[in-house]
Symmetry: C2
Subunit: 355 residues, 2 copies
C-alpha cells in the first residue's frame, strides 16, 4: 500500500507542477526550466527572490553547463566560505574568544599562581567592562594559555564539551545553533552541483574542525583556518601524540586567506563568500581567473533579526568583522554580489519561523 | 552488434566465474566470497599472493564491514602515502632535485652573474662527480633559487613543461612513468572502498601537486608536502597573484609528517605507507589508535627490476630513502607489514610486461 501510494503521489505531483509551469514555458530554454524547478523545490528556500539569489543560481548554471563557455570542470569546483559573520553570528564577540575566556577559570585552578597575574586576574573578576578593554597583547596571552600546551586530542575533547554547555547571551542557545540557514542552503546547493565546500576562516583551524562536519557538513580536512604548529612526541608508554605549540604557521586573514588557500587547497576557488575587509584578498584572488566566478559579501544590515554593523553604508562600527565603505565600493565596481541580510534572507536561523 | 556481444560476454563470464567458485563456497562466509571475487577481478592484480597482499585485503575487509569490531566509519577512512620510494622511483636521485638542477641553466641565462658563483658554477660544468659532492648547504641555495621568487602559476607551468621533456637515465622514460603499478592498485582499491587517499611527502608540495591528479588520481588538495610560504601581491594592472617565498612552513619529513597530517588533514590516518626512516613517525602515529589500521613499508630489495638499497637487511646504503635495520625491527615488533618488491610484486611498472 505504502509503495503504491507514494508512487501515485509522485506521479500526481509531477503532473501538477507540469501544469503550473506550462504558461511559463514559452521562450525559456531547457536549462531555465530546470532552474525554475530547482528554485521551486526549495534548495534555496530561505532566500527571497532577488539579485543575490539569482547570482547564485546563474553562477551554478554557467559552471555546470558543458555547453557554456564558462563551464567549470568538476575537479575545479572549489567554493570557500569565511565563517565568523558569514556562516554564523560573530557579534558582539567571536565565539572562540568566549571559549578562551571560559577556559580561564579551570586553567587557573590547575595553576593557581595565575590568579594574581594579568590578564587572568581581570578575566576572573567577571567585570565585563574591564574585560572588553583588554589589549590585543593581553588577549594574545589568553589565546596562548588556553589554546596551546595541550595535546590535540585533549583540545578536541575540551571544545566538544564546551559546545554542549555554552550559550549565546541573546538567543540563549548553543553557538552552533546560530548558523545562517540561507548559507547552509548555498553550501548544500553547491555540493549538490559537484562543488567541494571549504571554510577559510580567521578563526582557529583546530577549533572550527571540531564541529564543522556536524554543523556545516564540511569535514575537518576542508577547514582552513589560523593555524599554530604542533609538536610530535611520545608519552611515557611510547604512544605518540601531538602537542599544540604557540608557534603561528598561518594567520588566515586578509592576505593570509589566499596564501592559506594555496597552502591547504592548492587551487584557486571558483566561488568565495565573506563579510568583512578580512575577506577582501580572498575574493580578489577568486575573481582573478576565467570561467564562471562568484564573489559574495554578506552585509549585516538586520538589527532586528541579527545585528546591523559596518561601517559600510553608515552602519555602526564594531569590534568584529568591519565591512568598510571601501570594500562596499570595490564590490560594486567589480560586480561582486552584496547580500543584504534584511532583504535577501527570508529567515536567518533554522530555529526562527518563517515570516 | 557491439552492445549484444558485450551483454552476452558479461553473462557468460558471470556464469563461468560462478561455476569456478562453487567448490570453494562451503564453509566460507559471504564476505570471504566477496573478497575472493575482489582478488579474482584483478583489483590487486600486480601483487603476488602472500602476507602483504593479504594484509591489505584483511584491513579493507575489517574497515568496511559494519559487523566487524574494527569497522571504520566512511568519513574516517584516510590513507596516507609517502611518495619518493613508496609510489615512484627515488634512486639514484630524487626527481625534484633533477628538476632543480635542470632549472639552473635558464636561471643563469636570466641572471648571468650567477655563472661564476658556486654552486651554480659547478652545476653548469656538468661534472657529475663534483655535483654529487655538493653540500646540503649548496643544495639549499639551488632549491631556493629554483623553487622560489616566482609566481605559483609560473612555477606550475615550468614543472608541467619539464615533466614532458625530462627523462630518467636508466629507463629513458618520463619520471611520471616510473610509478609503482602495485601501489597505484592499492590506492584505487582503497578509494573503491571509500578511502580518501593522500600523498604525504618530504618532497615539495607545489611540485607534486602539478602531476598528482594525472598520475595517482590524487587531487592537489590531497597532497601534503614540504611547503614554503607564499606572498600575496598585485601586478601593475591590479591582478592579484601569489609569489613563492623562501620561508619554510612545513618540513614534511620525520616528525614533520604527523605534524603536517594534523595541519592539512586534521584526522589520524587509518592506513599509512612509507619506505624509509622519514616515514617512521607517520606510521607510529597512524598505528596509535583503535579500529582497523594498516602500516606498510616498501623494502627496495629488487636490484634487477628496480633498485636494492637499505641498509636494512644488509642492503647497500645510499643517499636516498634510508630504510634502517632499526626501522625494520620496529616494524616486525609492531606487526607492520614489510612489502618486498622482489617477492610481493608481480611487476613494478605499468610499462613492463608481466613475468
Amino acid at each position: 500500500m505504502k509503495s503504491d501510494n507514494s508512487l501515485h503521489g509522485i506521479s500526481r505531483r509531477g503532473l501538477i507542477s507540469g501544469l503550473v509551469l506550462l504558461p511559463a514555458l514559452s521562450g525559456l530554454s531547457l536549462s531555465a526550466i530546470a532552474q525554475t524547478q530547482t528554485t521551486q523545490d526549495g534548495s534555496l528556500g530561505s532566500w527571497n527572490e532577488g539579485p543575490a539569489k539569482q547570482a547564485i543560481i546563474d553562477f551554478v548554471r554557467s559552471a555546470t553547463d558543458q555547453a557554456n563557455s564558462k563551464f567549470v570542470p568538476p575537479e575545479q569546483r572549489i567554493a570557500t566560505f569565511d565563517q565568523d559573520g558569514t556562516l554564523w553570528v560573530e557579534h558582539p564577540i567571536y565565539s572562540q574568544v568566549v571559549y578562551c575566556l571560559d577556559r580561564v577559570p579551570p586553567l587557573v585552578e590547575q595553576n593557581p599562581k595565575l590568579k594574581d597575574v594579568e590578564p587572568f586576574k581581570t578575566i576572573l573578576s567577571g567585570n565585563r567592562e574591564a574585560i572588553a578593554k583588554l589589549s590585543l597583547h593581553d588577549l594574545e596571552k589568553v589565546l596562548v594559555a588556553t589554546l596551546t600546551g595541550i595535546s590535540v586530542d585533549e583540545f578536541d575533547a575540551e571544545v566538544k564539551k564546551w559546545l554542549t554547555t555554552a550559550k549565546d547571551g541573546r538567543w540563549k542557545r548553543p553557538y552552533t545553533d546560530l548558523v545562517y540557514q540561507p548559507m547552509i542552503e548555498v553550501m548544500q546547493y553547491l555540493r549538490g552541483n559537484g562543488f567541494k565546500t571549504y571554510i577559510v576562516t580567521g578563526g582557529g583551524q583546530d577549533f572550527v574542525r571540531v564541529y564543522s562536519e556536524h554543523v556545516y557538513g564540511i569535514p575537518p580536512e576542508q577547514v582552513v583556518g589560523t593555524a599554530a604548529g604542533t609538536k610530535f612526541g611520545y608519552q611515557k608508554d611510547g604512544t605518540p601524540f601531538l602537542t599544540k605549540e604557540p608557534k603561528l604557521l598561518l594567520n588566515d586573514d586578509n592576505a593570509g586567506k589566499p596564501e592559506g588557500i594555496h597552502l591547504m587547497i592548492g587551487r584557486r576557488p571558483r566561488a568565495a563568500f565573506g563579510n568583512s575587509d578580512g575577506d577582501r584578498e580572498m575574493l580578489e584572488y577568486t575573481g582573478a581567473g576565467d570561467g564562471a566566478r562568484l564573489m559574495m559579501l554578506v552585509l549585516h544590515d538586520d538589527a532586528q533579526r541579527e545585528y546591523a554593523y559596518g561601517p559600510a553604508q553608515g552602519l555602526p562600527e564594531t569590534k568584529v568583522g568591519a565591512f568598510s565603505q571601501a570594500l562596499f565600493d570595490e564590490a560594486k565596481e567589480k560586480s561582486w554580489t552584496i547580500v543584504s541580510m534584511k532583504n535577501d534572507w527570508k529567515r536567518v536561523f533554522a530555529f526562527v519561523e518563517k515570516r
